[in-house]
């Protein structure tokens, strides 16, 4: 079998292996007959990383035997520059995407209560209502807690870095609170243009919401009902 065909088979096998899991309701996400772009990025990344490790081991063996040929120097260039750049790029893309998921936010112990509330069909918090009705299709935490555009993404990632740091040190406030006042613009970016919103809000109210003098949470909410707090109150 030709190496190209072998590589294609390996990528397809990785793609099958890494196929997106079924959602909580048991409904598989739509991903066509050959997988999604994200599955391919992950699958190709794993294949490239394994190939890179194999190449490094081969070169290491050649160095130990003292046989440093022109071919091994070319392999060295590929294994230390070309493939690692590809792997770093694909791993970063995967990491960035996966860190937006609810699972990533819920991975830290202090977020358990928020995630439990989010997924509780009986909860009437804003987060739970948006989640159970699928007003937001995926990455529900990230969608509401990041601003838009490239700066918004970078800012959210830097905040996330701070969260990891505080999680490691355990010096976060209990119960945890949002670091900055929640911007109405994040609500209005979805709701602002809808007929339902325009019909139910006075025209004079909208500039106040845009300017942040009034908060959406003054009338709607609460945004979260962390379930540990509820248990503690009982």
């Amino acid at each position: 079998m030709k190496p190209g065909a072998l590589a294609a088979l390996a990528v397809l096998a990785a793609d099958r292996l890494l196929a997106a899991p079924e959602t909580e309701g048991g409904v598989p996400p739509p991903h066509g007959w050959i997988g999604t772009t994200n599955e391919w990025i992950r699958g190709v990344g794993i294949v490239m990383a394994l190939l890179n490790l194999v190449l490094l081991i081969v070169i290491w063996g050649q160095l130990r035997r003292g046989r440093v040929s022109t071919v091994s120097k070319a392999l060295l260039f590929g294994a230390i520059l070309v493939l690692p750049v590809v792997v770093v790029f694909l791993a970063t893309a995967t990491g960035m995407r996966e860190s937006m998921t609810v699972e990533a936010c819920g991975a830290c112990h202090m977020m358990d209560g928020h995630v439990r509330d989010l997924r509780d069909p009986k909860s009437d918090s804003l987060a739970a209502v948006h989640y159970k009705n699928r007003y937001i299709q995926e990455n529900q935490c990230y969608t509401c807690h990041s601003d838009y555009g490239m700066y918004g993404t970078l800012s959210a990632k830097l905040d996330g870095l701070g969260h990891v740091w505080h999680s490691i040190r355990g010096d976060y406030p209990k119960p945890i609170k949002i670091a900055h006042p929640y911007s109405n613009l994040r609500c209005l970016s979805c709701h602002g243009e809808s007929q339902k919103f325009l019909e139910k809000h006075e025209k004079e109210e909208i500039p106040k919401l845009m300017a942040g003098t009034d908060s959406c949470l003054d009338c709607h909410g609460p945004a979260h009902k962390p379930q540990e707090e509820k248990a503690a109150q009982k």
Partner: protein, 72 residues
């Protein structure tokens, strides 16, 4: 003609570059297989840094070989 100690030094740098690259790739592999916030943070800090250092080491060896008048 270079002496054996210079060659041994070059091999030492190449081995170090291989180890650093392997560490970065292993971290990348862990992230690609199963993402956790801790692995992601570790990779974002160390992955590109280790690959960058490995590349600089390789570049250094190449420059030394070129200076010694040897064809790569």
């Amino acid at each position: 003609m270079r002496d054996a100690s210079a060659d041994a030094k070059m091999l030492h740098w190449i081995r170090l570059a291989i180890i650093l690259t392997a560490l970065a790739i292993l971290m990348g592999l862990a992230l690609l297989y199963k993402e956790t916030p801790y692995v992601f943070t570790l990779f974002m800090f160390l992955g590109p840094l280790l690959v960058g250092i490995a590349f600089v080491l390789l570049g250094w060896v190449i420059i030394q070989e070129l200076r010694a008048g040897r064809v790569l």
